[in-house]
């Protein structure tokens, strides 16, 4: 989600709410005989308001699970989630009097709140900056869950290109030129010159299959400049009719490189959710327990 000018009304409203809360909190904290307390009328008001905001923000998960539930646009839900959560944080501090809690449960809650908020802010920043990076650097990106499947398709495509090259009928002159290139400039008349695609086969077996099958980042072809030099060398060692195959393989390698990059981007772009989402559910659950026990005692 890009944080653009469409967020401005939300930011302004959030700032107003926080400032209003601060305007109420300051005199209350100064005048409170025993200092600001969560169980006081003002403290409870802040707590209830913050809990409601967190609950509404948490409904985003439900909304995402039911896409057909057409209550508001997804963008609106996302903005609400972001800004209501941010407003809830200062309200929680007003509720507790800027204390990190004295009991086990309150300390756990404040820790969870801190982790959830920080992970959310990190996620929001990542979601703001990385997508444009991906668009610029990964024009060949695909659906993330299909990367393995696409990668297998690339390997098959490379094999098909090799098979097509091996099956192609070549001009004898070309074959001689290819043989000369392989033999360092001389040709033995008695031996039949090898098919120029042999070089491709050798390259495929030695490099390309491994790059398209295994861990892409560990392979030398993953580095763009290394790949460029490698394919230039390969291109120089095969006949011109094989050059299209080599270029196709180069394109496949570039796509493989971008798919690996997409995987990395995706882990960064969404990995924070493995922290943010579970802890959010725990936070909401324990907040309910805290409210119950607090009102009870």
């Amino acid at each position: 989600m890009i944080i653009d000018r469409t967020h401005r009304p939300w930011a302004v409203a959030s700032a107003i709410v926080v400032l209003a809360g601060a305007a109420l909190y300051v005199p209350y904290s100064v005048r409170a005989p025993a200092g600001p307390e969560g169980g006081s009328v003002m403290g409870l008001s802040f707590g209830i308001a913050a809990a409601l905001l967190m609950l509404i923000a948490g409904l985003l998960g439900l909304r995402r699970q039911v896409p057909g539930w057409r209550i508001g646009r997804m963008q609106t839900w996302m903005r609400a989630h972001l800004w209501l959560s941010l407003v809830a944080l200062p309200l929680i501090f007003f509720h507790g009097g800027f204390s990190f809690g004295h009991a086990t449960l309150t300390r756990i809650l404040m820790s969870l709140l801190t982790l959830v908020t920080l992970s959310g802010i990190v996620g929001a920043l990542l979601q703001h900056f990385l997508p444009r990076q991906m668009t610029r650097r990964l024009p060949m990106e695909t659906i993330y869950e299909q990367i393995d499947h696409i990668r297998e398709g690339l390997r098959q495509e490379a094999e098909q290109l090799l098979a097509a090259a091996e099956a192609a009928k070549l001009d004898p002159k070309e074959m001689l030129l290819a043989a000369a290139a392989q033999g360092g400039g001389s040709v033995t008349v008695a031996a039949a010159p090898p098919h120029p695609a042999v070089r491709l086969r050798e390259f495929y077996e030695a490099n390309l299959r491994a790059y398209l099958s295994g861990s892409a980042r560990a392979h030398p072809l993953h580095a763009a400049d290394t790949a460029q030099r490698t394919f230039q060398y390969l291109r120089a060692g095969v006949s011109p009719s094989m050059h299209e195959t080599v270029e196709a393989w180069e394109s496949i390698c570039e796509e493989q490189r971008q798919l690996a990059g997409e995987e990395r981007f995706h882990r960064v772009l969404h990995g924070w959710l493995l922290v943010h989402v579970p802890l959010s559910y725990a936070l909401l659950l324990l907040t309910a327990v805290h409210a119950f026990q607090g009102l009870r005692y």
Binding site: P33, H102, L105, H149, A248
Partner: protein, 445 residues
């Protein structure tokens, strides 16, 4: 040769259309963690509920006084409205200790927990915030609308009236005392010149040292058998000045040169009866003295000496009693007391009215201030000549140290209300009928 063609159609055809039916590892982990982490929280809460362990929900550590309760929340948080509400009620506090009312005419009585806030760690619960006091005393009202106390007290530093004795400006005591004379160098003592200090006369009850300049000529009235249950004497307040202990060695109550005995330091009637008795006993033992003419050995303008011989023993006693009482009423007693004509032949001497405790609505401890010289606070004393001088230090003296607003907290003596005042009227303390056994109190058994 094959060329690599990337069209939208060719790219779309690469996609496995059933991919969304299978959970990607990333989504699987997100789902599993979203279930597992809250489940851990649920299990933890359930375990606490099964074990009936409430400490994780506590608002904070207990004070030192209540630490023995431990995690037994129900000792104070007794169930009131069914299962749910367990607010602390005053009855829970009063099951262990009484909290007498402050004033019967106060407009409302705050609950125990509203002033004595628990769960703030090892703090003294009696250290109450000023706001608890000023919620009434900043604008004091009573049920009947009339308060005889200052009705606007907000804090000690800036909004506390001058102490009441200094506002009235006059010591109600009737004993004449010139502090300046008593504190001067070379004061005539029983055995030569002395230099008195404040502690010679002003001592706490716990200080039982003898008077330093001479043994008292009159034995103090023997104390009754000490009460073993009485609290030990303190060093907070000074005991009132006592004639027998502090004055008698220098201010002798001689009445006649024939007697070394002193008249009792009592009312004029008792003194008169004593003098008559002594002189009667003397003339009975020395009847020849009836014919003797008195020679004046002391030139006291107020005392008229009869120079004629007495007619008989009774006349002799009457003459000598008159002379003795002239000496006493017009000089000796008058030295320190205001002697007024009485309805009969004997004068009236007002009660001494020495203030024992100047500020009855506050508490003070001299012992806490014993590092100071007496005149550091009682600055006017060395130059005081008049009994009417109120030598109690004013509030400005106290504010030099007890100034929480002007000085940094680390540099200021405590200046909150509880330091000098008590809310509960402990004279009305009621007994508490304890209802706990030790196992029940500690373990709930």
């Amino acid at each position: 040769m094959a060329r690599r063609v990337r069209t939208a159609k060719s790219l779309a055809q690469r996609i496995d259309l059933d991919y969304f039916k299978r959970l990607h590892p990333f989504r699987r982990w997100k789902f599993l963690l979203s279930v597992a982490v809250p489940l851990v929280a649920v299990v933890w809460v359930a375990a606490l509920g099964i074990a009936d362990h409430s400490r994780p929900y506590s608002a904070g550590p207990m004070s030192a006084a209540h630490a023995f309760v431990g995690s037994r929340c129900e000792v104070c948080h007794a169930t009131t409205a069914g299962f749910f509400l367990r607010h602390v009620k005053d009855n829970a506090c009063k099951s262990c200790h009484d909290g007498p009312v402050h004033q019967t005419r106060q407009t409302f009585t705050p609950s125990c927990a509203s002033c004595h806030t628990e769960h703030r760690g090892p703090v003294r619960l009696a250290d109450v915030s000023d706001a608890m006091c000023t919620q009434c005393h900043a604008d004091l009202r009573t049920r009947d609308g009339h308060s005889r106390y200052e009705n606007r007290v907000a804090d000690f530093d800036t909004a506390h009236p001058e102490f009441a004795p200094l506002r009235s400006g006059k010591d109600p005591g009737t004993v004449k005392l010139d502090h300046e004379v008593h504190l001067k160098a070379g004061l005539k003592g029983p055995h030569g010149p002395v230099q008195m200090v404040c502690a010679d006369c002003h001592r706490p009850p716990a200080d039982v040292r003898p008077w330093p300049y001479a043994a008292p000529p009159v034995e103090p009235i023997a104390a009754a058998q000490p009460d073993p249950l009485a609290p030990p004497p303190t060093r907070a307040y000074m005991a009132p000045v006592n004639y027998e202990k502090h004055c008698a060695a220098c201010h002798l109550l001689n009445f006649d040169r024939r007697f070394s005995e002193l008249v009792p330091h009592k009312e004029p009637k008792i003194v008169h009866d004593f003098v008559v008795k002594k002189l009667s006993e003397y003339i009975a033992a020395h009847p020849e003295a009836v014919r003797q003419v008195e020679v004046s050995v002391q030139r006291i303008p107020e005392v008229k000496i009869e120079t004629r011989p007495a007619r008989d023993a009774a006349d002799w006693v009457a003459m000598r009693v008159s002379e003795a009482e002239q000496l006493l009423w017009k000089k000796t007693c008058k030295e320190c007391h205001t002697v007024k004509p009485g309805a009969g032949p004997l004068p009236e001497i007002p009660k001494a009215q020495i203030a024992v405790r100047w500020l009855p609505h506050s508490v003070f401890s001299h012992e806490a201030h014993q590092m100071l010289d007496c005149t550091a606070c009682h600055a006017r004393t060395p130059h005081s000549k008049e009994t009417a001088d109120v030598l109690l230090p004013g509030i400005a003296t106290c504010r030099q140290c007890h100034a929480s607003r002007r000085l940094a907290p680390a540099d200021s003596a405590q200046a909150r209300c509880f330091e000098c005042h008590q809310y509960h009227d402990w004279s009305k303390q009621a007994p508490v009928n304890g209802r706990y056994t030790i196992p029940r109190l500690l373990k709930g058994m």
